[in-house]
């Protein structure tokens, strides 16, 4: 007769996979500045990494993030931004926006964060949904052909409200 040595049961952490997750997040991206594009992208990416259904809705200036001709060319300006702690007059000098943008892009790149188009692709690959705002598209005379291919559609505010039933909303 042989006895098996008593082995401790393997400890497997609870990843919460068994619990039904009904959590859902919708992020409205309304800004077209380089610095304001990232909060939405980073949060969407984090939510997807936690297995949460995520929708990004781009409206007004946020269109710059998904317009093919502009998404690689978002800018950061010191103008009106007191958090740079530089004299406000400096931001208005020619070339300052280009310089500040260059500097910020470099800093973003240095910490290993992708640029906007690549980040959007990562979000889509992770299962995120991208939507564009109907009214902004009409105002700016933009249609689907001008937008990033992964944008699922141009939807109205009502469609958005329907889609985000029960979701947590963030307006950026």
């Amino acid at each position: 007769m042989t006895t098996n040595p008593v082995s401790a049961p393997a400890v497997i952490p609870d990843f919460g996979d068994d619990q039904p997750t009904r959590r859902k997040i919708a992020i409205i991206c309304s800004k077209g500045n380089l610095d304001m594009a990232y909060p939405g992208l980073i949060l969407a990416n984090a939510a997807l990494g936690e297995g949460i259904e995520t929708h990004l809705f781009f409206t007004f200036w946020g269109f710059d993030m998904i317009t093919k001709s502009r998404m690689r060319d978002l800018k950061f300006t010191m103008l009106g931004n007191t958090a740079t702690h530089m004299p406000q007059g400096l931001g208005g000098l020619p070339g300052m926006t280009a310089m500040a943008t260059h500097q910020m892009k470099k800093q973003i790149h240095d910490i290993g964060v992708p640029d906007v188009p690549e980040f959007l692709q990562q979000i889509v690959d992770s299962g995120g949904h991208l939507w564009a705002c109907r009214m902004s598209a009409d105002m700016m005379h933009i249609d689907e052909s001008d937008l990033y291919e992964e944008v699922e559609g141009i939807i109205s505010a009502t469609d958005f409200i329907e889609k985000t039933e029960g979701a947590q909303l963030l307006f950026i």
């Binding site: 990843f15 996979d17 990494g49 936690e50 290993g112 964060v113 992708p114 990562q122 690959d125 992770s126």
Partner: protein, 40 residues
């Protein structure tokens, strides 16, 4: 997760198939690493 995807050139989609819903946490657990602390 981004590092795994870019350095090992494994598409993000595949990582989500292999480690459903929480790829970063699950990969860290299997690799014996602490929970990832970076934002991206």
């Amino acid at each position: 997760m981004r590092r795994v995807s870019t350095l090992a050139s494994i598409p993000i989609k595949q990582l989500f198939t292999l480690f459903p819903s929480k790829p970063a946490k699950k990969m860290a657990y299997i690799a014996g690493l602490p929970k990832p602390h970076g934002c991206v």
